[in-house]
């Protein structure tokens, strides 16, 4: 247990500390705030690098894994244990998150220069970074869930950073609530797992819930509807992952999250947070992949992941084709790529999914930051129809954006996107249960190429349409300052370089993540030309070329000059274009069903509250009042009245009797004599005759 593993908790702790300090610093210390945030993250990056180096050296039987656990909460017999773990999966994510985060921190110093809530922004960013790093190293599902919620909080705060804008506030609420729906699934799954496995720690020398002994026990018991317990829990965890990663039913919040500042979109909605869902599935992979020993074929959970991923990929790609906002196109592209990652996980396992996640993180961050510098340059203009012709005015942004676009589209050989997508398609091709995910994957790749070229042409080629805006004087777009363009360059380089680590010829990353047999680790170009691999590469290249050509043909030949001009695709397919532009009206669907249903429930509740409970309260109130009144009346007239009259009569009677006591002894004597005589009379002639 090396020093680095012991101190691994510092990686998330430093950004948290920075967030705490920044929260207290007054707004005017802008420079020191940025410095503190960036410093903390660089420290974390160094530590992450150290940890990564540690994992490289010693490859254990199933890869390097070092665990530190401690008891957090002791309640009688039960003890809730937390802890952190260092393994290849975690190490890779650590490095990716802290490196990309650092670049985005530096970028946002320039981007947010004019904003007066500068320190607050960096405080939230540090908070987010800390939480994300926490998710990565967590060895217990509970600790993971805690950091997962913090990440959700950070995303809410960052989306709604410009809370003055109503749309931003609404978007933040939407994001938070939709992810909460997913988190609910994760939460129920967690509790179910705890009740079944009696521990939430992943790896604890044998007793951990992801270790073989516990997993076989979970698989053995059948939970609800014939599914094994592990499958049921995995599906619930998948629900959480869908929420956070914006998969099909719960993807609506991601496009609206673009209201937040662009570095936020880049960091959270491209690179890290959305990747958390995929990471969660990768972390819980043994549970997902668990099969009752007799069964064959894919485990139901992984089949679900695959189908979900494939469908979302195509679905999002279709919508992206018809969008006009530069960041929304990228948002839908992220949703689509996440679909691909799930597809990779479902068919190829952790290594395939993670490889695409890592590559996607870099080039998607690059694209977002590029869009950011475009918006920055064109004075907050986001509608691509009002952009155009920025090739000459923003050359660096154009160049880096082009690299990113080609990586995303999957231009062969040089760019990382091609290699990671190829791995997924290869795995999907070999997927036994059904060939359809492979076909959807190929279709998605083509669509991706098409909408990226559409966006490139609209934004960078054709005449510059910004000056057509009415009110502003001719605002000439200008290139972003170096503090923004340098990170772009770095990211572009990574987008290219990272691809080479996972090619079939030298699958280092896969072996690193899944500890494949030793022979595969050597560099061997010949594997490239294996029959299946080569054929697939040719197919995907053809598909990408087709997409590019279609894009250029539709938009490149006659770039539009009037922002109000109708879209070429719309001319071709007006109905389909409107459908796609309307995002399949999923929002309206939700609006119509969930929101109204909720509203109905709310009004019902309100009515219930007003009439039923109100009525009861009123009733009780009336009762009490009535009771009080009657008791007052009773007291007033019956008791007092009766009592007083009785007292008065008594007093009067008393006074009469007092009359008897005249004070004159003779009257007493008279009475006495008369009475005795009467008594004598009675006795003598009365009874005892």
């Amino acid at each position: 247990m090396s020093w680095i593993v012991q101190q691994l908790w510092l990686v998330p702790a430093l950004p948290f500390l920075a967030a705490g300090v920044l929260a207290l610093t007054p707004r005017r210390h802008r420079r020191s705030a940025a410095g503190l945030a960036i410093g903390a993250l660089t420290a974390s990056l160094v530590l992450a690098g150290g940890a990564f180096a540690a994992t490289l050296g010693q490859a254990g039987p199933d890869g390097f894994r070092a665990v530190v656990n401690f008891t957090w909460l002791e309640t009688g017999a039960h003890a809730v244990r937390l802890g952190w773990v260092l393994d290849p999966l975690g190490a890779a994510m650590l490095v990716m998150v802290s490196f990309v985060g650092l670049l985005i921190f530096i970028y946002s110093v320039g981007y947010m220069a004019h904003d007066d809530n500068f320190t607050r922004f960096f405080c939230f960013l540090s908070l987010f970074a800390g939480a994300m790093l926490g998710v990565v190293i967590a060895n217990s599902l509970l600790l993971l869930f805690i950091c997962w919620e913090l990440v959700g909080l950070a995303s809410y705060l960052l989306i709604g950073f410009w809370f003055q804008k109503p749309e931003a506030a609404a978007a933040a609420k939407k994001a938070f609530i939709t992810t909460r729906v997913g988190d609910l699934g994760l939460f129920v799954g967690m509790i179910w797992l705890y009740s079944a496995a009696d521990t939430l720690v992943f790896y604890e020398n044998g007793q951990g819930c992801l270790e073989q002994g516990m997993v076989t026990r979970l698989v053995a018991t059948t939970a609800v509807a014939g599914m094994t317990l592990s499958t049921a829990i995995s599906l619930l965890v998948l629900l959480g992952a869908m929420g956070k990663s914006g998969q099909f039913p719960l993807h609506v919040w991601l496009p609206d999250a673009m209201e937040g500042p662009t570095p936020v979109s880049a960091l959270i909605h491209a690179a890290t947070m959305v990747a958390a869902g995929v990471f969660l599935v990768a972390r819980m992979f043994p549970l997902f992949a668990a099969q009752p020993d007799g069964a064959t074929g894919e485990s139901p959970a992984l089949q679900a992941v695959t189908w979900l991923g494939a469908f979302t990929a195509v679905f999002a790609a279709l919508i992206a084709v018809a969008q006009t906002d530069i960041k929304r196109i990228l948002a839908y592209s992220t949703v689509s790529q996440l679909g691909y990652m799930f597809l990779g996980l479902g068919t190829g396992g952790v290594a395939v999914g993670m490889f695409h996640l890592l590559t996607h993180a870099f080039f998607k961050a690059l694209l977002f930051l590029g869009a950011g510098s475009v918006i920055h340059g064109c004075h907050e203009e986001q509608d691509i129809r009002r952009l155009g012709g920025l090739r000459r005015t923003m050359p660096v942004t154009f160049a880096t954006y082009a690299v990113g676009m080609m990586a995303l589209a999957g231009v062969p050989l040089l760019f990382s996107g091609f290699w990671s997508k190829d791995e997924i398609l290869h795995a999907a091709q070999g997927w036994k249960p059904s060939p359809w995910p492979f076909y959807l994957g190929v279709l998605g790749a083509g669509l991706t190429a098409f909408y990226m070229t559409r966006q490139m042409i609209f934004v960078f080629f054709g005449p510059n349409r910004t000056c057509a805006r009415t009110h502003a004087a001719a605002l000439t777009p200008h290139e972003s300052p170096p503090v923004m363009t340098v990170p772009l360059a770095f990211l572009a380089i990574c987008a290219v370089v990272l691809g080479f680590f996972g090619t079939p010829a030298w699958p280092w990353l896969q072996t690193y993540l899944e500890a494949r047999p030793a022979d595969l680790t050597a560099f061997d170009v010949s594997r490239l030309f294996a029959v299946g691999v080569l054929g697939l590469m040719v197919l995907s290249t053809a598909v990408v070329a087709a997409g590019l050509a279609l894009g250029w043909w539709l938009y490149g030949r006659r770039p539009i000059t009037d922002p109000a001009a109708t879209d070429a695709l719309e001319l071709a397919q007006p109905g389909l274009f409107r459908l796609l532009h309307g995002k399949f009206h999923v929002d309206e669907l939700y609006e119509a069903t969930v929101v109204r249903w909720h509203a109905a429930w709310a009004t019902l509740g309100e009515l219930l509250d007003r009439w039923l409970w109100g009525g009861v309260v009123l009733l009780v109130h009336g009762l009490a009042l009535g009771l009080a009144w009657t008791s007052r009346l009773l007291d007033e007239y019956v008791v007092n009245g009766g009592f007083d009259t009785a007292c008065r009569r008594l007093v009067r009677g008393g006074r009469h009797m007092a009359g008897l006591a005249t004070g004159k002894p003779q009257s007493y004597l008279r009475g006495l004599a008369a009475a005795t005589a009467a008594l004598a009379l009675l006795l003598l002639w009365g009874g005892c005759r």
Binding site: L660, G663, P665, Q666, L669, A673
Partner: protein, 103 residues
């Protein structure tokens, strides 16, 4: 009328006169005198019964009357002392004026 009844009737009449006096006279002393009369009537009754009412304990009647006489003497002494002290405070012996114990 048997001799006994004669004595009893006389005693009753004496008692009645005594009571009438006690009830009607205003002066406290006379009320006391009335009471004395009643006591004498009672004594007369006792002796009459002792003498004529069958032989009973030979000395009972006499003893009884002796003690009554003694008590009557004590009572009169104290009564008159009271009357004198009342007179000294109220300057009057008229009973109907001494009625501060009125209810």
């Amino acid at each position: 009328m048997t001799p006994l009844e004669r004595y009893l009737v006389v005693a009753a009449l004496l008692f009645g006169v005594g009571l009438a006096g006690a009830l009607t006279r205003r002066n406290a002393i006379l009320v006391l005198a009335g009471i004395e009369l009643m006591l004498t009537a009672a004594n007369l009754n006792v002796v009459a019964f002792w003498r004529h009412g069958g032989h009973g304990d030979a000395t009972a009647g006499v003893m009884f009357v002796l003690f009554i006489i003694a008590v009557a003497a004590a009572e009169t002494a104290v009564g008159l002392a009271l009357i004198i002290s009342i007179y000294r405070h109220r300057r009057t012996t008229h009973l109907d004026e001494v009625d501060t114990l009125k209810g």
